[in-house]
């Protein structure tokens, strides 16, 4: 269904408004709520000079609106603060770490969709029978497992006890030096294939399997449950009954017609689970020492590196709303009835 330019413009515009709102909320959280913001920004155990410097940098002596204006100006100019832990600008740190997280999330989501949706369809077709009930139980458990705990368990069993897979990290540094691997896009799986570096590719694959599997459990369970519920609902609809009577083949009815009707809400719910997956990624990165935004955030939290924490929060919020916007647009493409 053709998307009108009008719709895209409207959507992107509201996106910008939302991002603006995010930034404002963050401002309120970081400057307005705390009684003495300079303590948060100066790092733990600050000296009086550091506090004074922080006060100046935050322009705390100025009127609140001036503070807001200067804050926005800083953000716009890319001046998001210095992480006092790494001593480098926060934005640089984030740019470095982002691709690693994206790679992890993409792989996890792919696993979730590739396994979850067919599982849901299968359960819907075998509704009421034992297979359906088994799948139901598995997905409920899967949706209830705390990601960080699961990560610990998996790492313990496969990484430490059984030693079949690496317990952490993203790539074997020695191998990188040996084979002269150079990251191009930041997505190591892609980069290694581009360079024909199969050794690194396999190595990264080994490293990414455990964390991405753990991360995929929640969205996989959710998409299986949603797919099943929606397929069952759709298969009971009148238009499926009539398609059946008119003579459309069973296979087409399930995999072309019903699936398309069910997929739109499933896509929407995936967008929702995406939010949980992002947070889950943080915890998984922390435990598997995966060098992404999550690890960066966790380390910043543990060392009270406030500027870094806030910068990550803003970036993730922007990223999240952008993904939601894309999901909405995808939804509109699939369902021609969506009002544009």
């Amino acid at each position: 269904m053709p998307i009108t330019r009008e719709y895209l413009v409207k959507r992107i515009f509201s996106q910008i408004v939302v991002i603006f709102g995010v930034v404002i909320i963050v401002f309120i959280i970081t400057r307005v709520i705390p009684a003495r913001p300079e303590f948060l920004w100066a790092g733990p155990h600050p000296t009086p000079e550091q506090l004074q410097k922080a006060r100046e940098e935050l322009h705390l002596n100025e009127n609140i609106l001036v503070q807001l204006y200067l804050y926005l100006l800083d953000l716009f100019n890319g001046n998001w603060g210095i992480s006092w832990r790494t001593k480098t600008p926060v934005l640089d740190d984030i740019a470095h770490a982002l691709p690693a997280t994206l790679e992890l999330i993409i792989v996890a989501f792919t696993i979730a969709i590739v396994i979850g949706i067919p599982l849901g369809i299968f359960a819907a077709l075998k509704r009421g029978k034992i297979t359906d009930n088994i799948i139901k139980i598995i997905t409920v458990i899967g949706a209830s497992l705390p990601t960080f705990w699961l990560a610990l368990v998996v790492q313990l069993i496969f990484g430490t006890w059984l030693r079949v897979l690496p317990a952490g990290g993203r790539v074997n540094d020695i191998l990188v030096i040996q084979t002269g691997f150079q990251p191009i896009t930041g997505f190591y799986l892609l980069d290694s294939l581009i360079q024909g570096n199969i050794a690194i590719f396999l190595d990264v694959l080994q490293h990414i399997i455990l964390p991405s599997l753990v991360l995929s459990i929640y969205p996989m369970s959710l998409s299986a449950r949603m797919t099943r519920a929606l397929m069952v609902e759709v298969l009971n609809e009148q238009y499926i009954r009539s398609a059946n009577v008119w003579g459309i083949s069973q296979r087409l009815i399930v995999y072309k017609y019903a699936l398309k009707n069910a997929i739109a809400p499933v896509v929407a719910s995936l967008g929702l689970s995406f939010g949980y997956t992002i947070v889950g990624a943080f915890l998984v990165e922390l435990i598997f020492v995966w060098p992404g935004i999550g690890l960066y955030l966790a380390m910043s939290l543990l060392s009270f590196d406030y500027p870094a924490v806030i910068a990550v929060v803003i970036i993730i919020a922007i990223f999240y709303t952008t993904i939601n916007m894309l999901v909405d647009i995808l939804h509109a493409i699939i369902d021609p009835r969506v009002k544009l």
Partner: protein
């Protein structure tokens, strides 16, 4: 009220939902009586430090083993139930309060006020679920109350939206017009007439959110921005066990299992209630045995 008893009746019929119900009821009960049934209260509250008993694996005297301070993990996990319950009710309670109020006012007032309030609500939705709580918790610092505040502030928009939709559809019903014609004040109409009728989806959602609240609080504690030690909150216990996980796996595993069971319970219950409340499905219910 009769709806609730009907729901309970139907839940009892299906074994899986019944298990969910039992878990939830068990959780609430344990949470209330936990402090009174501890066998080693000092261990649970974190008042002891006995290095000779550190890192003992699970045994009869210590079913869940001991941690690095020699404290009995079983007691700690048990007491943790109490704190999880406090957090869950606190978060959901406060979020409900704020959310219902805002949703009610926005829904009833309509117009500019509604747009403004709903826009603010939408801005909160820009954040992935836990992220806002992380930012808030990082700002407020560790503490039981802070965790509740942080999660509640991150959570109220969901309820506000739910209530908003309900109020919107109720306020156009004829009996509201009737109330206005009689001359009842707006506040009276809002609270006495509209509010009671718009509570159903929200209360169902809220009671099921308690499981998620426990989970998210645990995540915050795991990251070090939740409750402070020595409170035996499950997330905190898991993170404490993480340091020594290679030689004492039990410290992290058992609190995690408790979490898993609680969340499973709430999920099962929520599935059951949702299926029951779906009127379409009700019509297709087949008598068992056919």
């Amino acid at each position: 009220m009769s709806e609730i008893s009907e729901i309970l009746k139907l839940v009892k019929k299906d074994i899986i939902s019944f298990i969910g119900l039992i878990i939830v009821v068990g959780f609430i009960t344990l949470g209330i009586i936990a402090p009174y049934i501890l066998t080693r209260p000092n261990d649970a509250w974190g008042n002891t430090y006995d290095v000779t008993k550190a890192y003992l694996p699970p045994s009869l005297s210590h079913p869940f083993g001991t941690d690095e301070y020699g404290r009995d993990m079983f007691n700690r996990v048990l007491l943790g139930t109490r704190f999880s319950l406090i957090i869950a009710t606190g978060v959901v309670g406060v979020a409900l309060l704020i959310g219902i109020l805002i949703g009610l006012i926005a829904g009833y007032a309509g117009g500019r006020i509604a747009t403004l309030l709903m826009r603010i609500t939408d801005m909160f939705f820009a954040f992935p679920p836990l992220l806002l709580a992380i930012a808030l918790a990082a700002t407020l610092g560790r503490g039981l109350i802070n965790v509740i505040i942080a999660l509640a502030i991150a959570w109220w928009p969901w309820y506000a939206r739910l209530v908003f939709i309900q109020v919107n559809s109720i306020k156009t019903l004829p009996f509201i017009d009737g109330a206005k014609v009689i001359g009842l004040s707006n506040t009276r109409i809002m609270f006495k007439y509209i509010l009671p009728n718009s509570l159903t989806p929200v209360t169902v959602q809220a009671s099921l959110d308690m499981g998620s609240a426990v989970l998210e609080a645990a995540a915050l504690s795991f990251l070090g921005i939740g409750v402070p030690p020595p409170i035996p909150e499950w997330g905190l216990l898991i993170s404490q066990g993480w340091q020594s996980i290679n030689r004492a796996w039990w410290i992290s595993i058992f609190p995690g299992l408790a979490l898993v069971i609680i969340v499973i319970g709430f999920n099962l219950l929520s599935d059951a209630i949702r299926e029951i409340m779906d009127p379409k499905l009700k019509r297709l219910l087949i008598i068992k045995g056919i």
